[in-house]
C-alpha cells in the first residue's frame, strides 16, 4: 500500500466515523423535527438531548479531521472541491453554526415559544447539513468537479440526480443510525415506551433507507455511469452486497431488541458503503480528472502526516474509549427531563 493510499484509507475511516457518530447526532435532530407535539414527543426530545449532550462535540471533530486530512494530503483535490461546491458547503457551515448554538441553548429554554424557536433552528439545520454534505459528495462522485479554482458549475454541481440521491440517503442514514442508538439508550435506562418508539423508527428508517439505496442504483446508472459501474463490479460490488446483508441483519437484530450488536452492525453497514464508494471511484479522486497519485502531496508531507497520525492515535484512542465508557455506563451527568416548555396536556 502506498502512502497516498494509506492517507486515503485514514480519511475514509474518519469520514465513516463522522457519518456514523456525527450522522447519528444529525439523525437525532431529524427525529426531533418529525416528533410532533404529543406528550411522547416531548420525552423523545428529552432523550435526544440527553444522549447527545456529552458527545456531540467529540463527534463533530471527525468532520474537522476529514477536512485536515484532505487539505494536507490532497491539497489540489481540496481546493478544487471547496471552490466549485461552495454553495452547499457554505450552507452546511451556516447550518452547523445554527445547530450547535441551538443545541447549546436548548436545555435553557423556559417558555414554550423559546423552546419552539430554538428547537426549530436545531431540527431544521440537522437536516440541512447532512443533505448539503451528501449533495457535495454526489457532485464529486458523478464527476461534476473539475480540477481548478471554481472551475465547475456553481449549482448543477450539487443540484443533480446523484447529489439529491446521496443527500437524501445521508439524511436517512443518520436518522436510522440515530434511532438504533437511541433505542439502545432508552432500553439501557429502562424507558420502555421510548425504547419501543425508537425501535419502530429504526425499523422504518432502515427499511426506507435500504429501498431508496436500491432504487438509487437506477439513478446512478443514468446519471453517474462510471460510479454505477464501479459499484456493480469487483470490490465495489462486494462491499455493496456486504452493506446490504449487514443492513438486513441489523434490522433483524433490532426486531429482536439486540441493540448493542445492532449499534455495531449499523456502523459496519455505513462503513461498507463509504469504502465501497472509494473502491468504485478508484483510482480517481475526481472522476476522469484527478487520480489519487496525482492529487497526493509530497512524500515528505505524507510521511510527516502518517507519523503524526500514529502518535496522535496513541493519545486519542484511549481518551475516546474513556469517554464512551463513562457515557455508556451512565457515569456522567445525565438527568432525563422531557423537553416540554410549558406543555399542557390537551383537554379531553
Amino acid at each position: 500500500m502506498s502512502l497516498a493510499e494509506l492517507c486515503l484509507l485514514v480519511t475514509i475511516v474518519g469520514l465513516t466515523a463522522y457519518a456514523v457518530f456525527g450522522g447519528a447526532d444529525f439523525g437525532g435532530g431529524f427525529w426531533d423535527l418529525v416528533a410532533g407535539g404529543s406528550r411522547t414527543a416531548m420525552e423523545v426530545r428529552g432523550l435526544i438531548l440527553r444522549s447527545m449532550t456529552p458527545v456531540w462535540e467529540a463527534n463533530h471533530v471527525w468532520l474537522i479531521f476529514v477536512l485536515v486530512m484532505l487539505w494536507t494530503a490532497f491539497p489540489v483535490f481540496f481546493g478544487s472541491v471547496m471552490s466549485t461546491l461552495y454553495v452547499p458547503l457554505f450552507l452546511a457551515t451556516a447550518g452547523i453554526i445554527f445547530r450547535g448554538t441551538a443545541f447549546a441553548m436548548r436545555g435553557q429554554a423556559r417558555t414554550l415559544a423559546e423552546g419552539r424557536a430554538i428547537g426549530a433552528a436545531f431540527a431544521v439545520s440537522s437536516v440541512l447539513v447532512p443533505f448539503c454534505l451528501g449533495a457535495a459528495l454526489g457532485g464529486i462522485g458523478s464527476g461534476r468537479v473539475p480540477v481548478g479554482n471554481a472551475a465547475g458549475h456553481a449549482f448543477s454541481s450539487w443540484l443533480n440526480p446523484t447529489s439529491i440521491l446521496v443527500g437524501v440517503l445521508t439524511v436517512l442514514t443518520g436518522a436510522y443510525v440515530a434511532a438504533v442508538f437511541l433505542a439502545g439508550d432508552a432500553a439501557r435506562s429502562g424507558l420502555r415506551e421510548l425504547e419501543e418508539s425508537f425501535r419502530r423508527r429504526a425499523l422504518g428508517a432502515g427499511a426506507v433507507t435500504g429501498l431508496i439505496a436500491l432504487g438509487g442504483l437506477l439513478v446512478l446508472r443514468s446519471d453517474a455511469r462510471d460510479l454505477y459501474d464501479g459499484l456493480t463490479s469487483g470490490t465495489g460490488l462486494v462491499l455493496v452486497l456486504a452493506s446490504g446483508a449487514i443492513g438486513a441483519a441489523t434490522l433483524l437484530l433490532i426486531a429482536a431488541r439486540r441493540y448493542e450488536v445492532a449499534r455495531w452492525s449499523s456502523a459496519a453497514a455505513v462503513a461498507c458503503i463509504t469504502f465501497g464508494w472509494a473502491a468504485a471511484q478508484s483510482p480517481y479522486l475526481l472522476p476522469g480528472e484527478l487520480t489519487l497519485d496525482q492529487a497526493a502531496a509530497s512524500h515528505a508531507t505524507l510521511v510527516a502526516l502518517v507519523v503524526s497520525l500514529a502518535a496522535g492515535a496513541v493519545l486519542l484512542v484511549p481518551s475516546l474509549v474513556i469517554l464512551y465508557r463513562l457515557v455508556l455506563r451512565g457515569r456522567l451527568e445525565e438527568q432525563f427531563e422531557p423537553i416540554d416548555h410549558g406543555y399542557q396536556e390537551p383537554a379531553r
Partner: protein
C-alpha cells in the same frame, strides 16, 4: 545598503501563481473581510480555551485544599461557561476550516501540503480537548474528586498545544520556510521545519499572555459589576480577585514580550514595522509618532518622539529602520489600518500594564484588596479594552502582511476563490454571527441568573422514577 540586502534578496525569490491557475476575483476585499470577521469572532473564544481552563482548575484545586464551597461553586459554574465557550468555539472553528477552502482554495491547493500538518496536530489537540471537557463538565460529583481534578488537566494542555499549531501556521505565513520553488511549483517540502519556523515563538508567547489578559480582565469585570451592585459575598469576591490578579500579572509581562515581537517583526518583516509606524522613507535614528495619520510618505498631525522607533526596533537610538519606499507601491500593506491598529494595541497594552502594576503593588503592600472606589469600574473597562487590543494585534499581523497571503511567495489576490457571491456570503455570515452572539449572551445570562448555591446541590436521581 547592507541593511537592504535581505529584503531585496527575499523579494527576488520566485513568487507563485497558485496550483489551480490564475484567478479573476472582483471581490477580493469581501473575501478578506469575511475571513477577518470570522477570526474576530473566533479569536476571543480561543483566549477562553487557552486561559480559562487553567483558572478553573486552580479554583478546583483551591477547593480541594480549603473545602471552601465558594471555590467549588465558582469552579463548577465556570466549567459550564467553559464548555459553552468551547461549544461556540467548535462551530466558529469549523467555519474557519471551511473558509480556508471556500475563500482561499488556491492557497490551500498550493501550500496545503507544506503547513497542513500543523492543522493535523491541532485537530488531535482539539479532539482531546473536546473529550476531556465533556468528562470534566459532566463528571462533577459523579466521578471521584481526585479523578475529576485530574480529568481536567488535559484541557489547558490541549488548549495550548492546539492554538500553538494554529499560530505555527500563522508564523509560517509570515515567514514561509520549509520548501523550495522550482519552475513555479512547490517542491522539496520539509513539513517539520515549516512548522517550527522562526516567527512562531514570539507570536505564541505574545498570544498566550494576551489570552490571560483578555480572560482575566473580562471575567473580573463581570464580577466587578456584581460587586458594584452591592453583592459582597465571598463568591463574588473570589470571582473578582483571582482573574484580576491573573490578568494583572500577565499585563506587564506582555510589554516585554511585545518588545521582543516588535524586534522580530523588524528583522523579518521590515515593511510591516514600517507600516505600523508610517515610516515612508528609510531613516537612521527614526522617530516614533504618537497619533496622527499617514499620508504621502509622512505621518501628519502626530507627536514625534525622536529616535524612539530605532530604539524599539533595534534597541539602538541610531539604528537604520527600513521605510515603505524600499519596495514598489504594489508590495506595500495598507498603512493607516496597520498603523491605527498598532497604536491602539500599544496604547491599551501600556495602560493595562500600568493598571496591573499599580494593583499588584498595592495588593502586596496592603496585604488585602485595595478599597479604591475606581478599582471595580477600572476592571469593568479593562476587559473590553484588552479584547480591542487583542484584535488590533491580529490586524497588525494580518493586514501588515498584505498584499501577501504567504509573505513574498503568494499574493492574497492569487489565493482567492473564483466563486461568485462573496458579498452575499459576507452579509449572510454577519447575520449568522450576530445571531450566534445573541444566543451566547442569552445563554450566559440564563446561567448567571441561577444562584451559586445551585452548583452545590447534590445531583438528582439519574433515572426518572
Amino acid at each position: 545598503m547592507r541593511a537592504l540586502a535581505p529584503v531585496i534578496a527575499a523579494v527576488s525569490q520566485p513568487e507563485l501563481p497558485g496550483a489551480l491557475g490564475p484567478t479573476d476575483q472582483a471581490h477580493l476585499l469581501w473575501a478578506r473581510e469575511t475571513q477577518a470577521m470570522s477570526f474576530a469572532f473566533h479569536i476571543p473564544l480561543v483566549c477562553f480555551g487557552v486561559a480559562f481552563p487553567a483558572i478553573v482548575l486552580f479554583l478546583e484545586w483551591r477547593y480541594h485544599r480549603t473545602h471552601d464551597d465558594a471555590y467549588k461553586a465558582l469552579a463548577k459554574r465556570w466549567s459550564k461557561v467553559m464548555s459553552l465557550v468551547f461549544a461556540v468555539g467548535v462551530v466558529t472553528g469549523t467555519i474557519l476550516s471551511f473558509e480556508l477552502g471556500l475563500l482561499w482554495p488556491d492557497f490551500m491547493a498550493t501550500f496545503g501540503g507544506v503547513f497542513g500538518l500543523a492543522f493535523g496536530l491541532e485537530g488531535f489537540s482539539f479532539f482531546l480537548e473536546a473529550i476531556f471537557i465533556a468528562i470534566y463538565v459532566y463528571g462533577w460529583d459523579r466521578i471521584p474528586p481526585r479523578w475529576h481534578l485530574l480529568s481536567g488537566i488535559p484541557i489547558p494542555i490541549t488548549g495550548i498545544t492546539g492554538s500553538m499549531m494554529v499560530i505555527a501556521v500563522n508564523g509560517w505565513m509570515n515567514h514561509p520556510v520549509g520548501f523550495d520553488v522550482v519552475n513555479g511549483r512547490v517542491t522539496n517540502v520539509h513539513p517539520w521545519s515549516a512548522l517550527f519556523n522562526p516567527f512562531f515563538w514570539h507570536e505564541l508567547v505574545h498570544m498566550y499572555l494576551a489570552a490571560y489578559m483578555v480572560v482575566g480582565f473580562i471575567v473580573a469585570g463581570i464580577y466587578a459589576v456584581a460587586w458594584r451592585r452591592g453583592e459582597r459575598s465571598r463568591y463574588v469576591r473570589i470571582g473578582f480577585v483571582i482573574p484580576l490578579t491573573v490578568a494583572a500579572l500577565a499585563a506587564p509581562a506582555q510589554v516585554i514580550v511585545g518588545d521582543w515581537a516588535g524586534r522580530a517583526v523588524g528583522d523579518y518583516q521590515p515593511l510591516k514595522l514600517a507600516a505600523a509606524e508610517g515610516l515612508g522613507h528609510t531613516e537612521k535614528g527614526a522617530a516614533f509618532h504618537i497619533g496622527g495619520y499617514y499620508s504621502d510618505g509622512d505621518v501628519k498631525l502626530g507627536v514625534p518622539v525622536p529616535k524612539l522607533l530605532s530604539i524599539l526596533a533595534k534597541h539602538d537610538p541610531n539604528a537604520t529602520v527600513l521605510g515603505l519606499d524600499t519596495v514598489p507601491a504594489r508590495d506595500r500593506p495598507p498603512v493607516n489600518v496597520v498603523r491605527f491598529a498598532f497604536q491602539a494595541m500599544v496604547g491599551i497594552g501600556s495602560l493595562l500594564a500600568a493598571f496591573g502594576v499599580v494593583y499588584l503593588v498595592a495588593r502586596w503592600r496592603l496585604r488585602r484588596l485595595p478599597r479604591w472606589p475606581w478599582l471595580p469600574p477600572a476592571a469593568i473597562v479593562a476587559g473590553p479594552l484588552a479584547l480591542v487590543a487583542l484584535l488590533c494585534g491580529w490586524v497588525v499581523t494580518e493586514v501588515g502582511r498584505q498584499p501577501w497571503v504567504v509573505y513574498q511567495r503568494m499574493r492574497t489576490a492569487e489565493a482567492v476563490t473564483d466563486a461568485g457571491g462573496l458579498p452575499v456570503a459576507f452579509f449572510f455570515l454577519l447575520a449568522v454571527y450576530l445571531t450566534l452572539l445573541a444566543g451566547f449572551v442569552w445563554l450566559l445570562r440564563r446561567l448567571a441568573a441561577r444562584s451559586p448555591e445551585t452548583e452545590l446541590a447534590r445531583p438528582g436521581p439519574r433515572m426518572p422514577t
